[in-house]
């Protein structure tokens, strides 16, 4: 039981618990706050995999930018009182949850019987794998074109968001 194992179990339990709370809470603001907890747990899990760059980006982009957007919209629409959205247990919900549970069991079965073998050889290379330097070198050479296309997606998203949220929709 090394420190890495303890970190994995603590962060994994935290991640699953906060994900469950996101899905089950009635008030969207509380859901959003638990989603932030979930993002931080995931950032910790990335750190246990030596993916420092992804961990930092996770906190900056998800916990920083996207969650501010979510909370802003929730408060703008004043959705605090969620009682009108009935949460009675219907047939549809039971079927949905049951199907998902079945799918999870299938994935679990596949992973436990034919999962990928744990590679010890990659561990030595893993330390240097997730640094900003390593990712940047790949991003600006091999993946330069997708990286440039990314800017196009972001521009389209900005224009789309402005057009959608305009006062007059016509």
């Amino acid at each position: 039981m090394t420190l890495g194992h303890i970190m994995f179990y603590v962060l994994g339990a935290g991640g699953v618990a906060s994900a469950l709370l996101v899905v089950t809470r009635r008030n969207p603001i509380i859901s959003a706050l638990y989603l932030i907890v979930n993002f931080f747990c995931l950032a910790g899990l990335y750190l246990t995999l030596n993916a420092q760059f992804i961990a930092v980006i996770q906190i900056i982009v998800y916990a920083g930018a996207i969650m501010v957007l979510f909370l802003f919209v929730i408060m703008l629409l004043n959705l605090g009182d969620d009682r009108k959205l009935s949460d009675a247990i219907t047939v549809r919900k039971v079927v949905g949850a049951g199907l998902t549970l079945g799918l999870f069991m299938e994935v679990l079965y596949i992973l436990l019987t034919a999962g990928p073998a744990d590679s010890e050889r990659a561990e030595a290379a893993g330390i240097a794998l997730g640094t900003v330097e390593a990712i940047g070198a790949q991003l600006f050479t091999t993946f330069l074109f997708p990286f440039e296309v990314t800017s196009l997606i972001l521009t389209a998203a900005i224009v789309g968001a402005v057009v959608m949220a305009k006062k007059k929709l016509d």
Binding site: G4, H5, F8, G12, V16, A19, V22, V23, P28, S31, L35, N38, F39, L42, L45, Y46, L49, N50, A51, F53, I57, Q58, V61, Y62, I66, L69, F70, V73, I74, L76, L77, K84, L85, G96, L99, T100, L103, L108, L111, G115, P116, D118, S119, A122, A125, L129, Q138, L139, P146, T150, I153, L154, A156, A157, I158, G160, A161, V162, M164, A165
Partner: protein, 100 residues
């Protein structure tokens, strides 16, 4: 080091929790948050495989997934605001003009 299949099982569990949220909740914003949960758990799978194979490609892909997720969140929340202006609700059962 924690074996890679542990990460895959954890990621599958979080993906399924997100899927349950999408299927069962009727509040558009909570459905949106569940989609973010699913995107995040897939990111965890990508990073785990990247470390398992010793290649960086998976982590670069996570970078692109995050970009798309940010764009999706911005446009999606704008759609929710526009819908709320027209219908005064975010209940997905009442937003059914594309259903028949």
């Amino acid at each position: 080091m924690v074996p890679i299949p542990y990460y895959l099982v954890l990621s599958a569990a979080m993906f399924m929790i997100g899927a349950v949220g999408v299927l069962t909740r009727r509040n558009a914003i909570i459905v949106f948050m569940s989609i973010e949960l699913m995107l995040n758990s897939v990111n965890l799978t990508l990073v785990a495989f990247s470390v398992a194979t010793g290649t960086i490609t998976g982590q670069v892909l996570v970078f692109f997934v995050m970009t798309v997720a940010a764009a999706e969140a911005a446009v999606g929340l704008a759609i929710i605001i526009a819908l709320y202006r027209r219908k005064q609700t975010v209940n997905l059962d009442e937003i059914n003009i594309l259903k028949w």
